[in-house]
Symmetry: C2
Subunit: 704 residues, 2 copies
């Protein structure tokens, strides 16, 4: 459906055989010196070539006048020359056969008009030279397994970063590496981290796809302000579902204040937060909005066990933690089903009366008097076929009891493939043994029951999305219909707009256009009253505002009078408007909704669905999907409206034809995509959804 | 307005001169032994008296056969005898003149019927003996300044807990102390911590009030499942506003699963989450739902500076953090106003072009090359009169630059009384100096910009609530009206219900009751058509369901026909119903809302306001306040409805009389409180809010 570039092979970027530093500095504290120091400190095993025509030698290494003069295979260049020289440096890389450049230099489009020109030149240079670029205006990248520290700033000193299975990309280097740092402090190991800066070439979506292709990456995340490549996020999501590797996105710059700050930062196009959210929902991407969720989800993913279902068994040594855990699980869509009768009976023999043997079970702290009891309890619950995952809450017990509990938990976890997680906030200083046991046994520990519930819910939803969204077939593309559309940026009249809809098979009200002065009687013979009469003019987009609409006319006579009136009203209000006549329609009935299309600069054509009338005006009850999409997505849209219950009938109103509305949404999405080069925006408002069928009662197509 | 017990003086509980341990064990690992060990380990300076008739001496101390035999002033008893002996132990305390007992023993109402009886006996014993009790079924309390570790479990070993200005109470000891532990690990210092268990005597609200009276407590929090004393939370909130000490409440057991788990835990009445939320909103209490918010807010409070406003100035060394900070600030109701022109001009001289001098300013990491520039930047922004608070984001810079930045920040903070906070996640292991400098300078550090924005917003709202809610006068109590209400649990007919409303001055539709067979014509002379005609019967609460309502009758003739019809319909549907006649009313018009009253077991009479029709049915758009309340609270209720915009007019409908609705809400709240001993529940549905005035068109009063 959507045509994207094929995924590139990024192995040379993540595992370069040799690295050139273009603009290498004598001063290792400068941006053009820090990567040299970092590569050495990290123990990078490949060759490092320094390039700077000013020196024959630097830091005990031969210094080359240009990349082209190196004469040895090099996979990556780190570019740190001043902005005006970067394009030349990239051309030099091209000559040297270097396929990837990490451009640290700032001073491009984020600084104004001159920078915009420099960046355009850089982009051309990259394409012409066949060099793929990270940056510019970035802090560089780190590939932990291959000891590549191609970066500057505080991350260049963090060469002991724990290796793990999380890869990430972020447009803000300082903030992104602060997240990496904080996450690692809390126990997350990293693989590849990319500060992508202005994303002149390599974009966040493309990096995420590369991470999903990387066998060593189990989870990826991005922190992004925006991207012109937004539509490609759908492919990323689908690939995440296909590979079973969760992709977390922290989309920032969602408020006016945030977007304003982003403009002077990486100047990435921030885009509409509601469309991003729709794309995430549509494709299985996971939205996050702080560091802790990333940490907690990463820990759970690292265990390498799929959440097979949403049914959680919970054991606590403190009733209070079981209660907040249950609260949050339920709020996030997990369930704590009753244990099987045999489970409860077996637990009752172990758990004292002041505890609880029901899910969430309160085994009480007394269990530490005989750790065999904990082992038994864990086995009993893990054997319950109604339980998909097990959570154990240990409050903050320290020392030897914690270590013994850890042993029992690790042993029990080894006997099952169900996810087993622990909520525990014991002080590491007093509980080192327990932490080591749990880490060695790959049992994730999250500090609070609430955070654990949230992370487990995210992963359960991800597995649900894999089953639900992952199987959806992209709809066959709707063929562009040959229409004699006027050239240029024109707003079509209602009648013309409805002709476009009809051409794409979308049901519109039965109606006729009567030229001014023409006879209504002959024209309306096939229509049944009551009628709606509206003025037809491209120059009048908002007909009601000029008295250009009359509704509920019971016979032809009233319709004729109405026709004269709406034309007169329109002429009075807009004397210059070219009036083509009147549109006489049958009156449709049913539940009012509106369908809109926006042609977003990032996502392209996107369909909006809202409930009509009071609900839309007062509650902004609108939902989106990126076009085109199929019937399941359309059903999802309808279901996620706040007022979705209205479709099932209310206050004696009958249930309406949801399927007809869903089909119309699919048709509109196909049409919007087929017309994406001409469509600026479109409104179908209202659509009447009846007991049988749905029909567009008014429409406005704006061409570009 | 609400009559509560006067605040007790708890200084002897928090600073006991001597402590008796009733049921002292020879085995220091037992619950009845751990407090002895903990008091000694903590360095409690008062005398410790052990009580156990089995021993003449224990652990090198004289052992007494009873508390009464001690013959020295004792302020606190720790009771750890088996459940059946606890009431006797309390009576013994009474004889000994001990005013406070911390009852650790479990096995009361949380275990079933026998426990319920034991607990009732315990409660009586406490009252009769004049002993105030913490617990039972609790883990005990800790008073850090006076080194009182009257507790068991892992907290009994945490005697190095950092002293600070936060006090807390929690119903779940294990979970509560895990929170204390985790919060302290993140830098929070504690004062008094109370595990309150079953709260047979001392309740969460009473403990919170005691904390607010304690001069050393700057902030208090509670983790609670529920309380029969819920209404007293309003007093706690008002006292928090008056003293300026924030009170945070983590109310758990808000879901069915959570409430079920709570029933077998401390068996506290969990209550309705929406009413708790209303009480918080009404009285300035702050709801939290995990540990991190408690930690972050506590850190900010500890600086001892009031948030004088919501206007935040932000400086970051990484644009990305400024963007997410701005996003979250705006979402939480803070603002990042533009800096004054002079501020921007001054910053431009310091901040490089690829940074930003607009709020949130991106000073860039380059500032660390000359720390004097950071000092200047801080001073410039702090002098901007349009900025109330300053946030500095340092990403995760480590080592010497972090220490230099810390010095500059502490110096700048010392020259202002505006709150100054830092978002920073530098590794403590690499940045000990910087952490110590910030701690010594009392500049709070929160690990992520998002968490900092959230905490700052909470405190800014608290200060706003102090100004907004703190000045509200409790309304004069509405006098109970002498009404000849039927005895017992009776549902009144619409006509009777409206008589009750009228007696309290609440406007109802103009109407008359016509006995069956009576002449309508004479009765309705003073009413203007159109009319509504409804059957009158206490036995028919839902008149529409039986065909007992006819609306929009245009003249007396139609009304007479309708009267015959509704009576016939009602008789057919409910042959046994006693029918008193028909009610003929004028038809009211306007925006439909509903007002309800629930007489909650915890909060007492509580008023609900919802939007009528589709909005209520589909969106559950309802808000609550605990009765009685004044006009400002009533206006708040109206304003916080999701569909509040409807009151200002929509789709050509006129704006309606919000003040009339607010007055009616106040009247209903006064009436509900005055009738609290008889009112089970009440529904006024619909109320029509017109362009002038509001009128109850139907009402149903259920007595108890």
């Amino acid at each position: 459906m959507t045509v994207t570039k094929p995924a590139a092979d990024f192995s040379a970027l993540f595992h370069p055989r040799a690295i050139a530093v273009i603009g290498a500095s004598q001063d290792l504290t400068r941006i053009s010196g820090q990567p040299i120091k970092a590569l050495k400190a990290a123990g990078y095993k490949g060759d490092i070539y320094l390039v700077n025509p000013k020196y024959p030698e630097l830091h005990g290494l031969k210094c080359y006048p240009s990349a082209a003069s190196i004469n040895a295979p090099v996979d990556m260049a780190i570019v740190a020359v001043p902005a005006p020289g970067v394009a030349d440096a990239i051309r030099d890389c091209g000559k040297a056969g270097i396929k990837y450049a990490v451009v640290l230099t700032a001073g491009f489009r984020e600084t104004g008009a001159e920078g915009v020109n420099l960046e355009a030149e850089l982009k051309r240079a990259g394409i012409e030279a066949g060099v793929r670029m990270v940056g510019p205006n970035c802090q560089g990248m780190v590939a932990v397994p291959s000891r590549v520290w191609a970066c500057f700033g505080s991350i260049s000193e963090e060469v002991e970063l724990t290796e793990g299975d999380v890869s990430c990309v972020f447009q803000s280097g300082g903030f992104g590496y602060a997240i990496v740092n904080l996450a690692e402090l809390q126990g997350v190991g990293f693989r590849t981290c990319v500060s992508s800066g202005n994303e002149t070439d390599l974009s966040t979506p493309e990096m995420l796809e590369a991470f999903l292709d990387d066998p060593g990456t189990k989870m990826a995340f991005a922190v992004m302000e925006g991207t012109p490549d937004a539509r490609r996020l759908l492919d990323v999501g689908r690939k995440a579902l296909a590979t079973g590797k969760p992709v977390l996105i922290w989309k920032s710059a969602n408020t006016e204040a945030g977007a304003k700050a982003a403009a002077s930062h990486t100047a990435n196009m921030t885009g509409r937060a509601d469309l991003f959210r729709a794309a995430f929902r549509q494709s299985g991407l996971i939205e996050v909005d702080d560091v802790e969720p990333i940490v907690d989800i990463a820990k759970l993913v690292s265990q390498g066990r799929r959440a097979k279902g949403k049914r959680i068994g919970a054991l606590s040594i403190s009733g209070g933690s079981g209660i907040v855990f249950a609260d949050r699980c339920v709020r996030e869509g997990l369930t704590l089903p009753p244990f099987a009768a045999s489970t409860v009976a077996a637990l009752r023999k172990i758990i004292p009366a002041f505890g609880s043997s029901e899910n969430p079970a309160d085994v009480t702290a007394g269990i530490f008097n005989d750790m065999g009891l904990l082992t038994k309890t864990l086995e009993i619950v893990l054997q319950d076929p109604g339980i998909d995952q097990l959570t154990i809450m240990l409050a903050s017990i320290p020392g030897a009891p914690a270590a013994r509990a850890a042993e029992a938990i690790v042993a029990a976890a080894a006997k099952t493939d169900k996810p087993v997680h622990v909520a525990w906030s014991g002080r590491r200083s007093k509980s080192e043994a327990a932490y080591r046991i749990l880490e060695a046994g790959k049992v994730p520990v999250v500090p609070t029951p609430v955070r654990l519930a949230q992370a487990a819910a995210v992963l359960a939803r991800f597995e649900e999305d894999r089953a639900r969204l992952g199987t959806r077939k992209a709809p066959a593309p709707t063929k562009p219909v040959t229409l004699s559309l006027p050239a240029g940026a024109v707003t079509l009249s209602e009648a013309e707009s409805k002709d476009v809809l009809s051409a794409y098979g979308i049901a519109v009200t039965q109606e006729v256009v009567v030229p001014e002065g023409g006879s209504l009687l002959a024209k309306v013979a096939k229509l049944s009253p009551p009628f709606a009469v509206k003025v037809v003019s491209r120059d009048i987009a908002h007909k009601s505002d000029v008295g250009g609409v009359k509704l509920g006319l019971r016979d032809v006579l009233s319709a004729e009078a109405a026709a004269r009136e709406v034309v007169a009203n329109a002429r009075r209000a807009k004397p210059d408007a070219k009036i083509e006549g009147v549109l006489v329609s049958e009156m449709a009935t049913g539940l009012e909704v509106l369908i809109g299309v926006v042609n977003d600069p990032g996502f392209g054509p996107t369909v909006a669905l809202g409930l009509g009338g009071v609900l839309t005006e007062v509650l902004r009850d609108v939902t989106y999907r990126i076009a085109p999409f199929g019937i399941e997505d359309a059903r999802d849209m309808i279901g996620e409206l706040k007022g979705a219950r209205l479709f099932a009938g209310y206050r004696g109103q009958p249930a309406v034809d949801i399927e007809a509305l869903a089909r119309m949404l699919v048709q509109v999405s196909g049409m919007a995509y087929a017309m994406k080069d001409r469509l600026a925006e479109m409104d179908i408002n209202p659509v009447f959804v009846g007991q049988k069928g749905a029909v567009a009662a008014d429409a406005l197509v704006v061409l570009k």
